[in-house]
Amino acid sequence: MQRHPNQLKGSLYWIAASAVGLLILNYLVATDALDWYYAGVLSTAGIYIILTTSLNLINGITGQLSIGHAGFMAVGAYTAALLSVHYDTPFVVNILAAFATAAVAGLVIGLPTLRLKGDYLAIATLGFGEIIRVVIQNLKVTRGAFGIVGITWVDNLFYTEIVVLLSVVIIWRIVNSATGRALIAIREDETAAETMGINTTLYKVMAFAIGSAFAGVAGALYAHRMTYISPNDFTFLKSVDILVMLVLGGLGSITGAVVSAFSLTLLPEFLRFIDEWRMVIYPLLLVVVMLFRPQGLFGTKEIDFGALGAAFRWLKSRFGGAVGSAPQRTVETASPSSGMQTEVQTSSLQPAGVQPDLSGQPGSAAVAPAEPSSRPFLEVNGLSIYYGGLKAVSDFNMSLPEGALHGLIGPNGAGKTTVFNMLTGLHPPSEGEIRFRRKRIDRLPPYRISSEGVARTFQNIRLFKDLTVLDNVKTAFHMNVGYGFGASLVRPPSYGVKERRVTSEAERLLEILGLQERRMELARNLPYGEQRRLEIARALATRPRLLLLDEPAAGMNPQETASLMELIRWIRDEFALTILLIEHDMSLVMRLCERITVLDYGVTIFEGTPDEVKRNPRVIEAYLGQEAN
């Protein structure tokens, strides 16, 4: 996923270009240079553009595989048709009504089915698409198989194209905003997205409903263009058509969807001589594209205006400021060992008020920890979790004061990560309670816990692998972008300001963690240690009060580990955090943590200061076995 940082202007370009295109088209139609036949074909192309971009929102952006899109198109088409035939309502009203009913249909169907994943979801959406058709076929009001005749004819290319343009712009804006980042995060890693404070269920259902709503709009256009609709217009094959267009264009690319829908509707009209073989060539083309270019023609990329590229860059240099940067993929790769140094060197670039005293000697924890507050910050009582008959963790207790730097250690399989999973809501505990700042959080879903101020990293790194480093961090600002869904559609001036602030804050976090050089690289291309640091940056972006680090030093060399230790201590003070960390590197834990809890077979066997832990016979026994005693 590599989008232009200057998307706002990018979309403005598209609007301007489309407007010019529209004017030309309408001039051609008005002067009879382009007859109704072409106008009709272009309308069809427009309808398919809406269908494909809206399916892209569900399949490409959010990563939820839906193959029943024609069903929602049918809902919209019938809404418009019935309104037009029975109440003679104007075109605009019908379009809006189609949007609304299809959105409701999407909501009703999305709520239960989006719990499913992958192929199962695909099959369920297929099923629902068919069910919608069967229902329409059996209802009296829709006149069953006879279809609806006499829908007002609106084949005004201008109206159609306006609706198409609006739909595409709205979808474009949704995708290129905090909402879009949340959706993409869900596609990349749903669990990680949830711990970034993204209500994944809500967002998935929302994307599904919006995608469906626009399919409904396309259906309404279709109904008004054909003046006659019947259930057979909305079969599974129609859904496949849309899917093929989307996939050929490239899942996740809006411009790809537009170009592909446009050319695939127009092409057969000009290739009538291959009519006989068209239905053989199409699937063949599909298979060949999948085999040789499975990401589609455009991948997840968006087209920019090659010819306008120069002007674009000039604009960027004038207005871009903190935002802009060339989207080249070949950012120089710093050698892994120099990573920490870079961070130290660039520390002087940090904004005023930040004093990263990182170059100091190890152990210079002269900075006093935040004064321990009298009441516990995190309080865990009797926490247990069972999987079937297995007690993974039982009766876990913990009490952390604010500002603590606490370690959680234990042999492999002791249940440390399970404790984290319970604290972040990923695995609801079977028994016990968790109080965070005196509020019970043990029954909250992960995204709520995240918004309470708990962030974590993962033992088996869960970055959004196909996003850039910068986008990874920006995504985590989800709860703190400061604008709502409406603002991302309307884009008031404040929107740009807030987006730029998110970007600059994200860049600042990257600087702190020594990743600013890498900000345009895909997360998957980072070396291991940097991926771990990126995870920390991402966790910090949620503005947590409590940070849970799951083996942050795993895979690092001693030098890296040492600077990581400094870094952890420094961010604790800088961001006024409380940190709980799991780590196998004993030297790090013993030097860094103020107190340590030792877990073995799901049971707490000891809690105390590092020195006490080192001396405790039960801990030694757990680690070294009985013989050593």
Binding site: V134, M279, M290, L291
Partner: protein, 350 residues
């Protein structure tokens, strides 16, 4: 009054079934009970239904007649579903083209019977071999290069292959339907229920093939390799299993079953056409999901459930809602027990 008794009885049967299921492990460990477990279940269910019908005063002959029709239709679904389930179990792909392999099997059988004038068994073998070759070819050409691609790429390729086969089929076989000659004419009457010889054959062949498949997967070396592969492909590779070969074998076996379904359909419902694979293909996948995908008896169970319930819906309600009910059933299963009736649930590791 009798209705109350009947519903009570039905409850009792249900509880008994549930208990049997719960203590299945004990039953299965006892060799004497092991082989009578499923027959006993079926017998119990049949008795319960029979009693219920008597109590309700329903037309029993009509009802059992529907069950017979349902079982033969269910056999078709089951045979196709077996292939789906095997392929999905191993490479996690909904092989949309599977329904069309079934179509090709039907045509291969048709030409074997009409042009080559072969009797049933050799024709069945030809249909199975032809489908099997096609299945392996499709896998080699279209799926193998994509083995490490995202699942959606594979799925879309499968949809493309399916459309391709349908349309090439229309060119090759023309869209005019073909009709099988009548091969099995006899019909028997059991308690007033008429049972055609062809329906007995379709059911018997299905059960035999399923048992054979079960044996193949559980007790032969390639079968063991398949199971290993379905658990963990990389580990299987490290154990010295030739992954490509095992996947080919899976496609070969699954496609052969679809080919068998094709010729059996031609014999019982004598018409075939190039688009015949679409709906049964989808339904068979639904069957595989209902039974628990990757589980061989599950595919059988799912196929039978769909076949029988479709017949009952047609016979008692109306065919116009039939497809909605089949897909509704699917969605219900997915939401309540996504692993299917015979499946075990798995938890995602964080």
């Amino acid at each position: 009054m009798s209705r109350v008794v009947a519903s009570l009885l039905l409850c009792a049967v249900c509880i008994l079934l549930a208990l049997l299921r719960k203590y299945r492990t004990h039953v299965v460990s006892n060799p004497a009970l092991k082989y009578s477990y499923y027959p006993a279940l079926i017998l119990l269910a049949a008795l319960g239904i029979n009693y219920l019908l008597t109590a309700l005063g329903a037309n029993k002959v009509y009802t059992f007649q529907q069950a017979v029709y349902g079982l033969s239709l269910g056999s078709v679904y089951a045979l196709i579903a077996l292939g789906y389930t095997m392929v999905y179990g191993i490479i996690r792909l909904i092989n949309f083209a599977h329904g069309d392999i079934y179509m090709v099997g039907a045509y291969a059988g048709y030409y074997a019977v009409t042009v080559m004038h072969l009797p049933f068994v050799p024709a069945l073998v030809i249909a199975m071999v032809a489908s099997s070759v096609l299945g392996v070819l499709i896998e080699r050409i279209a799926y193998k290069p994509l083995r490490n691609s995202p699942r959606i790429t594979l799925l879309i390729t499968a949809i493309g292959m399916s459309l391709l086969l349908e349309n090439v089929g229309q060119k090759l076989f023309t869209s005019t339907p073909r009709t099988y000659p009548t091969i099995f004419k006899a019909s028997y009457e059991v308690f007033g229920v008429s049972v055609d010889q062809s329906r007995i054959i379709i059911f018997a062949v299905t059960v035999l093939l399923m048992i054979g498949l079960q044996y193949f997967v559980n007790y032969t070396k390639p079968g063991m390799a398949m199971r290993a592969l379905s658990q963990d492909r990389d580990a299987a590779r490290l154990m010295g299993i030739n992954v490509d070969r095992v996947i080919s074998v899976t496609f070969a076996v699954g496609s052969a079953l679809a080919g068998a379904a094709g010729i059996l359909v031609g014999i019982v419902y004598p018409q075939i056409k190039p688009t015949m694979g679409i709906m049964p293909g989808l339904k068979a996948f639904v069957a595989a999901v209902i039974g628990g995908i990757g589980i061989i008896p599950g595919a059988m169970l799912g196929g039978m459930i769909i076949g029988v319930s479709e017949n009952f819906v047609t016979a008692y309600i109306s065919s116009s809602w039939r497809d909605a009910i089949a897909f509704g059933l699917l969605i219900l299963i997915l939401l309540v027990k996504p692993s299917g009736l015979l499946g075990k649930s798995v938890r995602e590791k964080v």
